[in-house]
Symmetry: C2
Subunit: 314 residues, 2 copies
């Protein structure tokens, strides 16, 4: 275990924000961001990795600051033309963004591993920390809904705007998927693992379901901390609160902490939820209460530095 290496587990926009904070707070060689691939899907013949792209664009300083995903200032001429052909347009594909999907899809078809492709693209965009898909194998988050049957993740999340009530989630392929050697080595070398404030069941669980990751995290030498994506009883972004309620989880930092129970040494709650700190502690974790809402770039760095300082006390 080299001194001070950090592995961040990240999914969507919230995860990318804290990953950027860690990138601003750490020398790049000390940070590895491990990213969910359960959202990945094929669309218009392109292999699209929304979470990897959100992390990559965010770390490259390209992400749209309002939406949190996609490229700032990107246009949608191709998407409009797709509509003219009667093709599906429910998934936003920016014009610059299309280049990402074209490069990735071509490289994968040519036999490259996703890890290699993401590495090349990150280098081209000047992203210094390592960004790693949790696996090079296919994992597909499937959403069993009440009334609409099983939906693929993007059908649920984008096309149906997370409106259907969720009866259950499955991470198809996860049990047979292998952690990459790069992720495995990063975990071996880590002093700290940070579960970013990502959706626990949509962003983190598909990673934990990859063969061996949950066991690795349960037994790893590194300290392990998570940041609550739930603040004041609501998700800062996206369907986390709605989904946790539908899955029978308590919609609070306590619900998130309980979900990760055997995997964590510490848990970070927002100041707005300070009253819940004793209940998180009762789960056997150390706690940090701080402002976790990352609106500005400076907020991200500050939260990352606060977590890094605190984690040394664990």
């Amino acid at each position: 275990m080299s001194a001070g290496n950090v592995v961040a587990l990240a999914g969507g926009v919230g995860g990318a924000k804290l990953a950027l904070g860690l990138a601003l707070a750490l020398p790049p060689e000390r940070l590895t961001v491990v990213v969910n691939v359960g959202d990945d899907f094929e669309h218009h013949g392109l292999y699209i990795c929304p979470d990897l792209d959100t992390v990559m664009y965010t770390l490259a300083g390209l992400a749209d600051p309002v939406k949190g995903w996609g490229i700032a200032g990107d246009t949608n001429a191709a998407l409009q033309m797709l509509g003219r052909y009667g093709a599906e347009t429910w998934f936003a594909l920016g014009d610059q963004d299309l280049a990402t999907h074209l490069v990735r899809t071509s490289a994968l078809r040519a036999g490259a591993r996703l890890t290699e492709v993401v590495g090349r693209m990150c280098r081209a965009l000047g992203v210094a920390p390592r960004v790693l898909p949790v696996t090079d194998d296919r994992v597909a988050t499937m959403v069993d809904t009440v009334g609409e049957g099983a939906l693929s993740f993007q059908e649920y999340f984008v096309r149906r705007r997370w409106e259907p009530v969720v009866a259950g989630l499955r991470y198809e392929g996860a049990a047979a998927a292998a952690l990459t050697p790069e992720v495995s080595a990063a975990l071996d070398a880590a002093a700290l693992v940070v579960f970013c404030p990502s959706n626990p069941v949509l962003s983190i669980d598909p990673m934990l379901a990859v063969d061996g990751l949950r066991a690795r995290l349960a037994g790893v030498q590194a300290r392990r901390v998570a940041v609550s994506p739930i603040v004041g009883g609501a998700a800062l972004k996206g369907p986390a609160a709605k989904l946790m309620a539908e899955m029978g989880m308590e919609v609070s930092p306590v619900g998130v902490a309980a979900h990760y129970k055997d995997l964590l040494d510490g848990f970070v709650l927002d100041v707005r939820d300070a009253g819940l700190e004793p209940r998180v502690r009762a789960l056997g974790m150390a706690t940090l209460v701080t402002d976790t809402v990352m609106n500005a770039r400076a907020d991200r760095r500050r939260l990352a530095e606060t977590i890094l300082d605190w984690s040394k006390t664990l």
Copy 2:
């Protein structure tokens, strides 16, 4: 043979211009445009059909009026981003244009015939005449060069800007490629076949090389006329003159007419080449001398109407 149906054989920009003229001059049900596929290639995982697109965009009124190919006003955000990733950018891919390639590539991968895909896209863009690839099979024009070996067509034409000296051309796959039933039926029903002013060796020959087409045209009941792409000893656009010289052909309407010798009833030369009319007649063809330069939309219709009127006298 139904009365008055026209089949136009078209390649690049010049072919598309006369195809538009014919579309303006004829009821749509009387016109079928049969298009070269020898330029088609895969690039960034996309199946790209430059000649089909040029014809489709031109007939749809979308073509860039200056370049003659691509979509007017199209942007190139994706191409710029491809460059940022270090990917190849020598082939222009407009953002709207990318939608065409995505729709076509997806449909072909799903098992559709190219003929069907082109038909669907043309309907979506409001193109009323039939636009047909000469074959649904793969034909790849290969350029044997002096000093640079064999180049694929787009490598020669776009990446190397038709600078290498050409030693020979091959139409790979053509002998084994089948005319589509749609092209075959259009020829059966045609009263007139028009060889558009396209490059004889790059645009028309790859079609004639498709199994059976040359023999069909040699024996067809329809009258057959060609329009010279060479005016005043030069090509109106592109490498036709340079290439004909390198192939040992006379760079004049006579050289073009001689190249199509056994396939034509009539030949159209530009007024600037009126002095060559006797030499074309000596090849056993009727001749029409007229202004063949199609700068404006009205020029295209006028040339088409002139040819249609004259062809009735053959």
